[in-house]
C-alpha cells in the first residue's frame, strides 16, 4: 500500500472522531490529531483499535504513544507493513 493510500485511510478513520470534518480537508502529515483536529484525547484508543482492524496489524501501547500527527500514524503503519 502506498503512503498516499495509507494516509487516505487514516484520514477516513479520523473522520469518525472529528466533530468538524472540514478540518480534515486541509490535513497534512504534520496535522496534530489532538491539537489541530480537536479529537478528544480519550478517543485515541478507539482510533488505534480502528487502525489495527483496517490495516490488519497490532499496535502496542509504546507504539501508540508515539503517534501525535497523521504522519506519525502513517509512518508507523508503513513500517509495520514492511
Amino acid at each position: 500500500m502506498s503512503v498516499e493510500q495509507i494516509t487516505q485511510k487514516v484520514i477516513d478513520i479520523l473522520r469518525g472522531y472529528v466533530k468538524d470534518t472540514t478540518l480534515l480537508e486541509k490535513a497534512t502529515p504534520e496535522t496534530h490529531i489532538l491539537k489541530d483536529l480537536k479529537v478528544n484525547s480519550a478517543r485515541l484508543v478507539d482510533i488505534i483499535i480502528k487502525c489495527e482492524d483496517v490495516f490488519g496489524t497490532s499496535i502496542d501501547d509504546d507504539e501508540a504513544d508515539r503517534i501525535a500527527t497523521i504522519g506519525d500514524a502513517v509512518l508507523l503503519i508503513q513500517q509495520k507493513a514492511a
Binding site: 472529528v18 480519550a42 483499535i49
Partner: protein, 425 residues
C-alpha cells in the same frame, strides 16, 4: 421564607409518545404504549410485553452528532433527548460546542434505577470474558457510570451548578425533582433540570421476571397487561423512557417572562426502615403515610385541597394497600376522595424514569385541565371498589384542577411524594 420553585419546561420520551403534545394527547385518549417484545419471548421470559419508546433510533439521530452517538446507549439517549427538550421548552437555546461559556446557575439531577445495564450485558461482560478488555475502547465508563446521564446532559447544555445522578428504585424520578427543588429553595441554584431515565433491556428486566413480579398472564393482549387497581392485576409491565422538568426559582422565571406551567408546592422523601411490615421489597405503610402527610405539610396546604392523585399504582398486590394509605394519610374516605389514576396503566412501570414521566403527566393534566383515564381496571380490586367513583375510565375534563399529588413507593422501602399546583398568575 422559602424561595418558590416553578416548572418552566418539560421534556418526555415515553412508550406512548415523544414530546409534550403527543404525550398529552396519548394520556387524554388513554393510548397504551405496551407492546409485545419478541426478544423477551425468544429469551423465555415469563413476561413478553413491555413499554418501549417507538422509533427512538431516528429521534436520537436528530439530537446528537455522529461522534456523540457512539457514546449514547438507550438510558443516556432517553435522558438526553428529554433534557434537551425540557431546556428548549423553557425558552433556552442549546449552546454550540464551541461556545465556552458555562451556565453556573443551572444544574441537573438525572436518576436511573438500574442504568447502563445494556452496555454492561452486551459489551462489557462478553468482551471481558473473552479476554478482549484492550479492545473495548474508550466509551464504556461514560455509559455505565451511574452519573453517565447527568454528565452527558451537563456537557450538552454547559451546566455548571450541581451535576449528579440519584437512585432510589421506583422513587428515583420523584426524588430527583424533590432534591432539585430543595437546592433551589436553599438558594444554591437558580435552575435545575430534574428527572430520570431507564433503558429498555431484557438484562434490566430479567431480575424482576425471576421474582415473578412482572405480568406473565397477558402476553397475547399487551394493551391489557398493565392493570393497576384491577382485581385481575397480574404484576407490573416493564417500561423504559425518560423525562425531565426544568425547575426554576420563581423570581428568575418572572424576570425573564417565562411561561410557567405549575408550582412545586412541596415534597418529601423517606424510608420505612424495613420495619412495621416493610421489607426490601414491600412498603412499611406508616412510612408511606408519613411521607404523604409531610409532603402536604411542606406544601402548606390542607389535604382537602388535593384534587387528584397520580399514584405509584403498579398493578401488584400493593395497589389496595397504597389506596388505603392515601386515604389514611389525607384523612379522606371514599366519599370525599380525590381523583386517582395510574399513568403506568398506559406505559408500564418505567422504573427510574417512572416518577419523572409521571410528574410530566401530572403537570400536563394541570396545564390542560383534565384527569387521564386509568386503563384496564373496570374490574376493580374489591378493596378499592369503594373508591370507584374517583377512578376515571375515560378522560375527565376538570377545568378547575388545581392541586395534584404524585407519589412513588420503591424497593428498599423508600417513599416520595410531590405536590404540584397549577400556575395561576
Amino acid at each position: 421564607m422559602k424561595r418558590r420553585v416553578v416548572v418552566t419546561g418539560m421534556g418526555v420520551v415515553a412508550p406512548n409518545g415523544h414530546g409534550l403534545d403527543v404525550f398529552a394527547q396519548a394520556l387524554r385518549e388513554g393510548r397504551s404504549g405496551i407492546r409485545h417484545i419478541p426478544e423477551l419471548a425468544e429469551l423465555n421470559f415469563g413476561c413478553q410485553v413491555g413499554g418501549v419508546p417507538e422509533g427512538f433510533d431516528a429521534i436520537r439521530q436528530c439530537y446528537f452528532d455522529h461522534e456523540k452517538l457512539l457514546s449514547i446507549n438507550d438510558n443516556i439517549g432517553y435522558a438526553s433527548v428529554a433534557a434537551v427538550d425540557a431546556w428548549t421548552d423553557a425558552g433556552f437555546a442549546v449552546p454550540e460546542a464551541e461556545d465556552d461559556r458555562v451556565n453556573w446557575e443551572t444544574g441537573v439531577i438525572a436518576g436511573s434505577g438500574v442504568g447502563g445495564m445494556d452496555t454492561i450485558a452486551r459489551t462489557v461482560v462478553p468482551m471481558v470474558n473473552e479476554g478482549k478488555v484492550r479492545r473495548m475502547g474508550s466509551r464504556i465508563v461514560e455509559q455505565v457510570m451511574n452519573s453517565g446521564t447527568s454528565a452527558r446532559i451537563a456537557g450538552l447544555l454547559a451546566l455548571g451548578n450541581q451535576v449528579t445522578s440519584n437512585s432510589s428504585a421506583c422513587s428515583t424520578g420523584n426524588e430527583a425533582v424533590i432534591e432539585a427543588t430543595a437546592r433551589i429553595r436553599l438558594g444554591l441554584a437558580t435552575r435545575m433540570l430534574a428527572g430520570g431515565s431507564e433503558g429498555a433491556s431484557p438484562y434490566i428486566w430479567a431480575g424482576f421476571d425471576a421474582m415473578r413480579v412482572i405480568c406473565r398472564k397477558f402476553n397475547d393482549l399487551p394493551e391489557e397487561a398493565s392493570r393497576p387497581m384491577s382485581a385481575s392485576a397480574a404484576g407490573f409491565v416493564p417500561g423504559a423512557g425518560g423525562a425531565f422538568l426544568l425547575l426554576e426559582e420563581l423570581e428568575s422565571a418572572m424576570e425573564r417572562g417565562a411561561r410557567i406551567y405549575a408550582e412545586v408546592l412541596g415534597g418529601m422523601v423517606n424510608c420505612g426502615g424495613h420495619r412495621m411490615g416493610g421489607t426490601i421489597t414491600a412498603p412499611n405503610p406508616e412510612g408511606a403515610r408519613r411521607c404523604v402527610r409531610e409532603a402536604v405539610a411542606d406544601a402548606g396546604i390542607s389535604p382537602r385541597e388535593i384534587d387528584a392523585i397520580n399514584g405509584h399504582l403498579t398493578a401488584t398486590y400493593a395497589d389496595p394497600v397504597e389506596v388505603k394509605n392515601w386515604s389514611a394519610a389525607l384523612e379522606r374516605g371514599p366519599e370525599d376522595f380525590p381523583w386517582i389514576n395510574s399513568t403506568k396503566s398506559m406505559i408500564g412501570h418505567c422504573l427510574g424514569a417512572a416518577g419523572a414521566i409521571e410528574c410530566v403527566a401530572v403537570v400536563l393534566q394541570l396545564r390542560d385541565g383534565f384527569v387521564h383515564p386509568s386503563l384496564n381496571c373496570e374490574d376493580l380490586h374489591p378493596e378499592i371498589a369503594p373508591y370507584e367513583g374517583k377512578i376515571p375510565h375515560a378522560a375527565v375534563a376538570c377545568p378547575d384542577l388545581k392541586v395534584v399529588a404524585k407519589a412513588g413507593f420503591g424497593f428498599g422501602d423508600v417513599n416520595s411524594c410531590l405536590i404540584f399546583r397549577k400556575w395561576e398568575p
